[in-house]
Amino acid sequence: MSTTTEPSAVADAPAAGAKAGVEAGAGRGPWRLVWDQLWAKGSARFGLITVGVLLLAAALAGPLSSLGGWTPEEFDKRAVDAYLGGLPRGDFGGISARHWLGVEPITGRDLFARVLHGGQVSLLIAFTATAVVVVAGTLAGIAAGYFGGRTDTLLSRLMDLTMSFPSLIFMIAMMSVAKDVNRILLITLVIGLFTWPGIARVVRGQTLSLKHREYVEAAKVGGARSWRILTREILPNVSGPIIAYTTLLIPGMIATEAALSYLGVGVRPPTPSWGQMIAESIVHYETDPTYFLIPTAFLFLAVLAFTLLGDALRDILDPRGGRS
């Protein structure tokens, strides 16, 4: 009879995470269920493995590149031909036992080391920006949906306003006028500034539908304060869509960072990032295609893997698509 058609697997998933302590007794771990469903799906499995490998490679960029024997900043004069405008010696952009993925033209820097370190930066930005967006968006969405009234009006107007900004154009403008500041921090904040309304809308919609659920009212009758209701009753129940949405945000973040760096307003060059590497390599696409293809391939793989994973998570955690 129940009107609760929400799939039960979703229902308990985040709850387990919320209170692992009490949870021990319950037979089937709800997270386990999500994992099983993910693993059963081919594309999601590919996404999971790729994301895992990329994250690991980025995290271990230092040790891994020292395996290759080069730091990302080290020149190798011998690997390039000064008389050919600094093209790498040898085929395929100088791929050899010395340089596993070849070298950068002109400087002879090791691409293996650079692409790993670049990934570190790209993923770091993507993840921190996502974290900023999720925290800000969730707070705003929950507050707007739960408190309603003026809070809602104010926050919704703010969302409308933010979404009316030509975000990429504005991001480029902000990045280019800000001179000597920490670029990674700024890029994170700037991306966050324009992306939070998306998630805030989803959360607001969910909160609106949840706040009149009887268990919320029960908590009120029980004398719970707003904070308690928000954190104990509502937040755990919107976490499913949030998780799905978050995973789908990450590829967008990676792409945005790459676009900004590509346009020359992203990460400052001494620090490699994928977008910035692509930007530097693009002029060599004919003379040294390997140099162009390597960072592009990494960027492509990362975006693809997160998209597949996010799609699958959304199907499992938020079958209605979390649309507001």
């Binding site: 020149f75 400087t107 002029v283």
Partner: protein
């Protein structure tokens, strides 16, 4: 880098953004000939060679460029490629550079004036007489008052960006705010329509060179349009503007009122010049390499990308269409002499030995487009010959540097190097080579537009800076004093003398040379001073850069003019077959 370059910098910044990479490297540096001492012979084009033989009259010449002109208004134009464009095609100046390949290109010849000017009062008063039969595009005569008027315009705060020699040299220039307010400058006299007299604050021996600048071209007061003059300068040269869609396209057609008989320099071969703007640098190169259809008539501006070198050199037919003239600039590593450790001449000398200049050349596109520098003055200012007073190997000698540092009692040095964004790779090359001599370098990069402010604040100036200097015209007077005269140091906005070098003997000598009225003798003296300064080592000369340019298969008479920092001399370039490549 000369003051010219600064304007080039702004343009370069645009280029950097546009291309998404450090194209701005290109504009600071020197011209080095093929005669670089390190490499046997660069595989690039010879200095002084002409591509394509003698042009025929007619046809449409295409200029492919990634950017719009910073300014075409002669009072505001101070970017090398755009000065070449303006003064060769649109407006004439009192004197101008010869249209010759090689070193001869830096020679000055009369243009609007009948001669190079007559000085009196020991070089403080300069008188020029205009030729007969000079006309504007509407047929009206060019009068001396029009030149006075444009010089006055360059004082106007509304009309920014132009060279400031007039402000520096002309008497009473300090408080003058331009003619738009109705005031005029008393230190320029025009006793009749053909005569113009300049009264200077101090003797300037090379004032004939100064008047090659676009500031000294005529603008009739009746054509004054304030800032909007920029879009439609009134022509006194062989071409006039037919259409100008800013950022997209500029079309020049013949100015029928230009009389070739009055002009010994400009040949004006093509009937039409079309500048197509907003083309990505690499794409312009690719199009000219392919030379399909109308692209056979194309030249590129402001330079070929260094990455294109790899596409050009392996193909003999394409390589034969590359021009790589010296820019006449010197890139240097400035050592901050105002504080430790570089207040110690011994430590500075060690730096001379420590730096791997060969790596600098590689980092900048290789020997095809760059030469190792061996002195401050570029070959164009040392009579074409390379001066190498110290004889240090191009790759440096870290051991010798270490020994010198030990002698000075300074081991374990830690210093900071600040560079503009586009010089990042070169900074990293410095970092690597100094590390071999035991000097640890921290690299800071700044945005190109913030670079001048960052290193120009002398209190917070870093120990090391990379920058360049180009002369505005071939005279040591526009070079060494800007770099090493201690009296030019400013608290904020310091530029030129980034070494903060304050040496009494040097300053005295500079004053003596400036007072010389014989230009040849002065030039000799500047060369000697250059050698002396090398021993005092306030900076390490790094490289002399050349300007690589490509021309289409149908282009003729193309060569880099050293007077315009190696830009293709637009006065004499044309087409082999005017009928070809119509499009």
């Amino acid at each position: 880098m000369t003051r010219r370059t600064h304007a080039a910098l702004a343009a370069a910044l645009a280029a950097t953004l546009t291309l998404g990479l450090g194209a701005c490297k290109n504009d600071k540096s020197d011209s080095g000939g093929d005669a670089a001492p390190s490499s046997t012979k660069g595989p690039g084009a010879e200095s002084g060679s002409v591509v394509g033989g003698t042009p025929a009259k007619g046809g449409t010449l295409t200029v492919l460029t990634n950017q719009d002109f910073a300014h075409l208004d002669p009072a505001r134009n101070w970017v090398v490629p755009h000065m070449d464009f303006g003064t060769r095609l649109l407006y004439r100046t009192l004197t101008t550079f010869k249209a010759e390949p090689g070193a001869a290109g830096s020679e000055i010849v009369p243009d609007l004036a009948t001669d190079l000017g007559k000085s009196s009062e020991g070089g403080k008063v300069w008188t020029f007489t205009l030729k007969d039969g000079l006309k504007y595009e509407d047929g009206s005569p060019i009068k001396s008052a029009d030149i006075k008027y444009n010089v006055e315009r360059s004082f106007s705060p509304d009309l920014t960006g132009g060279p400031d020699y007039a402000q520096q040299y002309l008497a009473g220039g300090e408080s003058y705010k331009g003619p738009l307010t109705g005031e005029h400058l008393a230190s320029i006299e025009t006793p009749d329509e053909k005569t113009i007299v300049f009264h200077l604050k101090r003797p300037v021996a090379e004032f004939s060179d100064t008047v090659t600048l676009p500031t000294f071209s005529p603008v009739p007061q009746s054509q004054e349009k304030g800032t909007q003059y920029d879009s439609r300068p009134f022509s006194s040269g062989p071409y006039k503007i037919e259409a100008y869609d800013r950022g997209k396209q500029l079309v020049l057609v013949r100015n029928t009122n230009w009389d070739p008989a009055t002009d010994t320099v400009r040949k004006a071969y093509p009937d039409k010049v079309v500048v197509t703007q907003g083309i990505k640098g690499g794409q312009a190169d690719d199009r000219i390499i392919a030379s399909d259809g109308a692209d056979a008539n194309a030249i590129n501006m402001p330079w070929m990308q260094h990455e294109t070198v790899a596409k050009v050199l392996p193909k003999a037919d394409v390589k034969s269409r590359m021009v790589a003239e010296r820019t006449g600039c010197t890139d240097m590593l400035y050592l901050n002499t105002a504080k430790a450790p570089f207040d110690d001449p011994k430590v500075r000398e060690a730096m001379m030995w420590a730096v791997d200049r060969e790596a600098q050349v590689t980092a900048f596109g290789g020997p095809a487009v760059t030469d190792v520098a061996t002195s401050f003055l570029p070959p164009s200012l040392t009579g074409g010959a390379t001066s190498d007073p110290l004889k240090i190997p191009a790759a440096g000698d870290p051991e010798k540097a270490k020994a010198l540092l030990k002698e000075a009692g300074r081991t374990d040095l830690k210093v900071a190097l600040t560079v503009s964004l586009g010089d990042k790779t070169r900074a990293e090359a410095i970092q690597q080579s100094l590390a071999k001599a035991g000097v640890q370098v921290t690299v800071n990069t700044t945005d190109p537009s913030a670079f001048a402010d960052t290193v120009g604040d002398i209190k917070n100036a870093p120990e090391l800076t990379i920058n360049g200097w180009c002369p505005d015209y071939p005279s040591g007077a526009t070079f060494l004093p800007f770099l090493f005269d201690g009296r030019t140091i400013k608290e904020k906005g310091n530029q030129g003398n980034y070494s903060q070098f304050r040496d009494q003997a040097t300053m005295d000598r500079m004053d003596q040379i400036a007072a010389m009225t014989d230009v040849a003798e002065a030039n000799k003296a500047w060369q000697q001073l250059d050698q002396d300064l090398m021993k005092k080592a306030p900076a390490v000369p790094l490289m002399w850069q050349r300007r690589p340019l490509l021309v289409g298969t149908n282009v003729a008479g193309a060569f880099g003019n050293s007077g315009y920092a190696g830009m293709i001399d637009l006065a004499v370039v044309g087409l082999k077959d005017p009928a070809k490549g119509k499009g």
